[in-house]
């Protein structure tokens, strides 16, 4: 038994404190993970079957209760605002690969440009799991034993809703950038790309891309009314193919009276060029 009064106990529903500029996940409805690799990551969490805590964790992530979140080699450290004035400190640990493991992994990636190409195009080939498995490495955690999860909240259940919230935030980060999955195992994007470049046999380091932020109007008073050079016909594709994009996007899982949405939209695309 706790020596706290009953109303202070965590199981009693109570509103968490609001966070100014908290980190909020973008998904507002339904499932969070969109891609196979982030789903794959959440599988472990969801397999733990802690029921209502997952839902509450997701609501936490949506309402921006996460104050900060840092992904580093082997760990994710986050601050999550709960009902107490001080945010809870959440840590998810996953073993980072050793130097030699990474050396073999990098060589395997460098030998097959398809992986880097797909990753850079925003995807992750499913074969990547097998590639690493062949080297005796697991990219995703397979069970709770692969993870260490800590939270400073009084809820003894693991994972608690604060841990769950951080998992959902991670999943969304993975969706947006598959390199984050590899970063968690010990190689951030820049280091990994530089190492791949080196293994590919070239050494030149890329210069940092110039960030050209727009200048405030007050600095532009001299040529306030002038436009830059603009010739759009220079870029215009020669062969308009109105249906091409529609045919390239993936099939949607929704239908109207057994008609696929793509088929229903096709006549509209056919009319567009006229």
């Amino acid at each position: 038994m706790s020596d706290q009064p009953f109303w202070a106990q965590e199981d009693h529903p109570k509103r968490p404190l609001r966070v100014e500029n908290g980190i909020q996940i973008h998904s507002t409805r339904g499932t969070v993970a969109r891609t196979w690799w982030s789903k794959r990551f959440l599988v472990v969490l969801e397999a733990l079957g802690v029921g209502g805590r997952l839902h509450r964790g997701r609501s936490y992530a949506r309402s921006g209760q996460i104050v900060s979140c840092v992904v580093d080699a082997g760990s994710v450290v986050a601050l999550v605002q709960g009902t107490r004035p001080t945010p809870y400190k959440v840590r998810i640990g996953i073993p980072a690969w050793g130097k030699q493991d990474w050396s073999r992994a990098e060589q395997a990636l460098a030998d097959d440009a398809w992986y880097a190409a797909t990753l850079l195009a925003g995807g992750m080939p499913t074969e990547i799991e097998d590639l690493f498995a062949g080297l005796g490495l697991a990219l995703f955690p397979t069970s709770q034993r692969d993870l260490s999860m800590d939270c400073t909240c009084p809820d003894p259940t693991v994972p608690c809703k604060h841990l769950a919230a951080v998992f959902y935030l991670l999943a969304e980060r993975f969706d947006a950038d598959p390199f984050e999955v590899l970063a968690l195992r010990g190689r951030d994007r820049e280091t990994l790309l530089a190492n791949l470049r080196r293994r590919r046999g070239s050494t030149a380091a890329p210069e940092a891309a110039v960030e050209d932020d727009s200048r405030p109007l007050g600095e532009l008073l001299d040529d306030f009314y002038a436009a830059g050079a603009l010739d759009l016909t220079r870029f215009a594709p020669a062969e308009p193919e109105p249906g091409a994009l529609l045919e390239q996007v993936p099939e949607l899982p929704i239908e109207v009276r057994r008609h696929k949405v793509r088929d229903l939209l096709r006549p509209a695309y056919d009319q567009l060029p006229k």
Partner: protein, 1028 residues
């Protein structure tokens, strides 16, 4: 003078606002806290009169001094503002504005100048519409809930978007987002917000205008439920004006999840480079002479197909780096992160073109090997998909992608070229036709055709060129050849012309029409050079220059074929005289007739022209071809019905105006015309306007259009004139738009432009002043009397002045009389210029002056040819009225030099005008600019009003016509018939003829004229006013 600016307002849409040079430059209101009203912004109601829309008001952050906003560089004030403090800062102003439809941007008004922001906004709207037209859009779900179309901007489109962001003028970001904001909108966010809305609107508009109504939802059996399922409601709301729909939270969540994969297809940032794929043949070690089995030899002659990967810089498209340079690190200095860029591009391309994935399974992928069938598939399908997704594709030389195999027609004409023979020549004349199969331009022989038929692969190499073979099309083509050549191998000239225009359906496309003899010359557009030049008939009183003789023979040649002809020589080359020579030639007396194609004297020719040219036609005909009987058909007294028919019996040429022709169309279309001529044929550029309709209704044996504007750059004009000359030649307006206007104007397609040139060149003759074969023929100076007419307001003011001043002159003697005569003269000159100049009322120029209207037409033509012009006036008041007006009308800077211009500024103006890309219009006061300056960049000189002293005018003309002038100078003097201008002009001419006297400086000699002589010089004739 108004200057219109535009911007995208996220809350309002396309917004226009304007500055007015007639409004005070400063405000006395001093408030630093809140936005003050902009002192010279145009009221929304006035602006809405020019560009209709919803009136609103904006807060704009503009560069300002303490007393008011800094004017935009486009704004020209009648009086230059005095010196002001130099301190400029950003200040909010309340500005009235109008929210307009995006389409309104494409319809600029004439008398208004537009800032660069409007052109930018127009480009933005056109880009959005182009994305919609090309289907670079996907539907999505937005809060509301709303069903919206969003743009998908990838590849080259991303480069275009980036260039729109970079080119955005600061003023387009100037809307204050909230009180206290001083940064303005972010260019990126603003462009994206605008594209989002504009694309959604463009898709909806295109769906609404579709020929067949689009139903996005499948038909439903039975009655629809009260609440539609969310997906159905969403689809329905994608079409039609209202994007909103209704659905439960739960349904929306499901729909949002389902749409997520499409939402993930993102509008990506422009990379500094893109992947391009180059299909090429690589030689193998195999010896083609050795038939042994070489697995690498795909083609049977020692080569194989590969697709090479390259990285192409988007900023400098000429920088193309092969993949091995990229992997070796040699590209990194030229393109940042070249390796990662190429990898990302290849990864993205593999989604569009899956066979690519196989080639990436190595450390340094450089190419993809293709089997013959794969190469064919790449050429016919995959390349287009990669292009559409924004990648570059390079195909083997000689591969034109779509129609490599085609038909070739050879035509040989029996008649000898150069001689227009009687009766033997015409559109119905038979010519020998020979059809063959061709690959590109190359004719195929029997053996090659047999090889094609026998080929099992879809790609066959013929004479070093790869040909895509579609077995069905080939069979149909061969069948066509058998039938055509087997028959009798003949066709008419008209058939050949029709085939060359692509007006006939054939089983394979016609890749070329080769013709010998005069048909070849005609199709090749070289007929004027190969025909024998014709001399004008004996009674013609002018010597034609060599290029004019060639023009005459070209006109006669097309007339003999019954083909409509467009003579589009540069202004000043004498189109009128060439046409008069043609008419005179066809009307030579019986027995003397040199034109053998005419059996009898033809009926009358009808010429339509602007009012200001009626007199010119009459005068030139009387001067050069006095035997031609000309009837000017306009004015209230013009004959009608029987009287007109009787008149026509002894008339050769009827000259009328476009206006009169439109009004009298019922009568004119019933008469049998020998020929219909449109002078200044650009008048029918709008094919739906009354003059165009009238011109098309009139039936005539032959049609000619005369125009001096460079038509090839004005597609609407070209299509309208060509359709008038040879109806149906370019197909329906819709087909013309699809086939030519969109590819040329929107996509800058050189192929479409070339096809259009090829189709129209038989009917179009355009010689340029700069053409060396013409320039040698030309005199160095051409003097032209530029006629115009007074408006009714000018005419009534003119009469009042004459009555008033004659009374004063009669009542005065000596110095007083002289003063009165000169005063009368000045007033009459002023009213001929513009009523406001006489009334000194400072009212805007409007359409009150016939002279200004004519000047605008003239300048439009001069500027269209890329020429520069000097305008002289002796009245500074008139000149300072013209400067803002002309700069608004032609949207460019107008230089103005007068007595008060300081020396330093004067030199700077001269230097800028003389430099290649300097301003094109230079207005000078006769006194200040008439001497000393060298302005040889101009090849046109216009004397707006007359200083009746030839020596002074000559001196002014010599600013342009002097050492350093390499071109012919055209000198125009504005003269209104029936006014003092014409009478004194005639007086000077006669005096010049009598003795080559140089009249003493000034106009004093005019005061010596007797009163009755003065009365007849001043009197206003009826011909001074245009009747329409």
């Amino acid at each position: 003078m108004l200057v219109v600016h535009g911007l995208w307002s996220p809350a309002r849409g396309v917004v226009l606002w304007a500055e007015d040079g007639e409004r005070p430059a400063t405000t006395s209101r001093r408030s630093l806290r809140t936005a003050r009203p902009h002192p010279f912004a145009v009221p929304a109601s006035q602006l809405a009169g020019i560009h209709p829309g919803k009136q609103t008001s904006l807060t704009l952050l503009l560069p300002s001094r303490a007393s008011g906003p800094v004017e935009s560089p486009e704004l020209v004030r009648r009086r230059a503002p005095g010196r002001r403090s130099a301190e400029v800062s950003l200040t909010p102003w309340t500005v009235p504005a109008v929210v307009v439809e995006p389409g309104e941007l494409a319809d600029p008004a004439d008398d208004v100048r537009y800032g660069a922001s409007v052109a930018h906004l127009r480009a933005l709207a056109a880009f959005a519409d182009d994305l919609a037209a090309r289907g670079r859009v996907l539907p999505t779900l937005r809060p509301g809930p709303e069903a919206r179309w969003r743009p998908v901007v990838q590849g080259l489109d991303a480069v275009a978007r980036r260039s729109l962001v970079d080119a955005l003028p600061p003023v387009a970001r100037a809307e204050q987002r909230r009180s206290g904001d001083t940064a303005g909108h972010s260019p990126e966010l603003l462009i994206d917000a605008a594209l989002d809305s504009l694309v959604d609107a463009a898709v909806r508009e295109r769906l609404a205008l579709a020929d067949t109504p689009v139903a996005l939802v499948p038909p439903r059996r039975g009655r629809a439920p009260k609440a539609l399922p969310a997906t159905e409601a969403w689809l329905t709301a994608l079409d039609g004006p209202d994007p909103r729909f209704e659905a439960t939270e739960r349904e929306l969540a499901t729909l949002a999840d389902a749409l997520a994969p499409w939402d993930a297809v993102t509008t990506e940032e422009t990379g500094p480079a893109r992947a391009t794929f180059r299909l090429s043949e690589i030689g193998t070690l195999h010896d083609p002479a050795d038939p042994g089995d070489d697995p690498l030899d795909q083609t049977g002659d020692g080569t194989r197909w590969v697709l090479e990967f390259q990285l192409q810089s988007t900023e400098d498209p000429s920088l193309v780096l092969p993949a091995d340079d990229v992997w070796a690190g040699r590209a990194d200095r030229l393109i940042t992160s070249a390796q990662e860029l190429l990898l990302a591009e290849l990864g993205r391309a593999a989604l569009v073109y899956p066979p690519l994935a196989g080639a990436l399974r190595r450390a340094r992928p450089e190419e993809l090997d293709l089997e013959l069938d794969e190469a064919h598939r790449f050429l016919t399908e995959d390349a287009a998909r990669l292009l559409a997704a924004g990648f570059g594709v390079q195909l083997p030389a000689g591969w034109n992608g779509r129609r490599p195999l085609g038909l070739r027609l050879s035509v040989s004409s029996p008649a000898a070229p150069g001689v227009v023979t009687r009766g033997g020549l015409g559109r119905e004349e038979l010519a020998r036709f020979r059809w063959t199969l061709a690959a590109g331009d190359e004719e195929l022989d029997e053996e090659e055709i047999a090889a094609l038929v026998a080929a099992k692969a879809k790609l066959v190499r013929i004479r070093g060129q790869w040909v895509s073979v579609d077995a069905d099309a080939l069979a149909r083509g061969l069948d066509f050849l058998r039938r055509q050549n087997g028959r009798r191998g003949t066709g008419t000239v008209a058939d050949a012309l029709g085939l060359a225009q692509g007006a006939v359906d054939t089983p394979l496309p016609i890749t070329s029409v080769a013709a010998e003899g005069w048909i070849g010359d005609l199709l090749g557009g070289t007929a004027d050079r190969t025909l024998e030049p014709l001399d004008p008939p004996a009674g013609f009183r002018a010597e034609l220059r060599p290029y004019q003789k060639r023009g005459l023979s070209w006109l006669a040649f097309l007339a003999s074929l019954g083909l409509g002809a467009c003579l589009a020589d540069d202004m000043g080359l004498g189109k009128t005289i060439q046409l008069l020579a043609l008419e005179a030639r066809e009307r030579e007396a019986e027995g003397e007739r040199t034109d053998p194609t005419l059996d009898a004297a033809p009926g009358p020719t009808l010429i339509l022209c602007p009012m200001s040219l009626v007199g010119t036609w009459q005068r030139e005909a009387a001067r050069f071809a006095p035997d031609l009987r000309v009837h000017a058909h306009h004015g209230p007294g013009r004959p009608r019905g029987e009287a007109l028919r009787a008149r026509l019996a002894d008339t050769d040429i009827v000259v009328t105006t476009y206006g009169t022709a439109s009004r009298d169309i019922e009568e004119l279309e019933a008469l049998p015309w020998h020929r219909l001529v449109l002078d200044e044929a650009q008048a029918i550029k709008n094919s739906n306007a009354a003059p165009s309709k009238a011109a098309r209704r009139i039936v005539a044996g032959h049609r000619i259009a005369l125009t001096g504007t460079p038509m090839e750059n004005r597609l609407a004009e070209l299509s309208s004139i060509m359709d008038f000359l040879n109806p149906g030649m370019l197909g329906t307006p819709e087909r013309f738009r699809q086939r030519f206007a969109v590819p040329i104007e929107r996509h800058g397609s050189p192929e479409a432009a070339e096809t259009l040139r090829r189709i129209t060149r038989p009917y179009l003759l355009r010689r340029l002043k700069t053409d060396p074969t013409v320039i040698d023929d030309l005199p160095e100076k051409i003097e032209i009397t530029q006629e115009y007419h007074l408006t009714r307001e000018q005419a009534s003011l003119y009469r009042t002045i004459v009555d008033d001043m004659m009374e004063k002159i009669e009542d005065s003697v000596g110095i007083q009389r002289r003063g009165n005569v000169l005063a009368a003269m000045a007033k009459l000159k002023q009213v001929c210029n513009h009523p406001a100049q006489l009334l000194h009322d400072g009212s805007p120029i409007g359409k009150r002056s016939g002279k200004v209207a004519r000047l605008e037409e003239l300048l439009a033509e001069i500027l269209a040819e890329g020429d520069k012009v000097l305008l002289f006036s002796q009245f500074t008041e008139f000149a300072s009225m013209l400067v803002p007006h002309l700069s608004a009308r032609f949207d460019q800077e107008v230089l103005y030099l007068h007595g008060g211009t300081p020396k330093k500024q004067r030199d700077a103006m001269v230097e800028r005008f003389q430099s290649g890309d300097g301003p094109s219009i230079f207005l000078l006061s006769l006194k200040a600019g008439g001497t000393g300056l060298t302005l040889t960049a101009a090849n046109h000189v216009v004397h707006l009003d007359r200083w009746w002293n030839p020596a002074v005018e000559e001196q002014a003309t010599d600013r342009a016509f002097r050492i350093g002038q390499g071109r012919t100078v055209q000198v125009r003097k504005f003269v209104c018939p029936g006014t003092v201008e014409e009478r004194i002009d005639a007086l000077i001419e006669s005096k010049k003829a009598l003795s080559d006297m140089v009249i003493s400086d000034g106009e004093g000699w005019l005061t010596e004229l007797g009163t009755s002589e003065l009365r007849s010089v001043f009197a206003l004739g009826a011909e001074a006013v245009a009747d329409d």
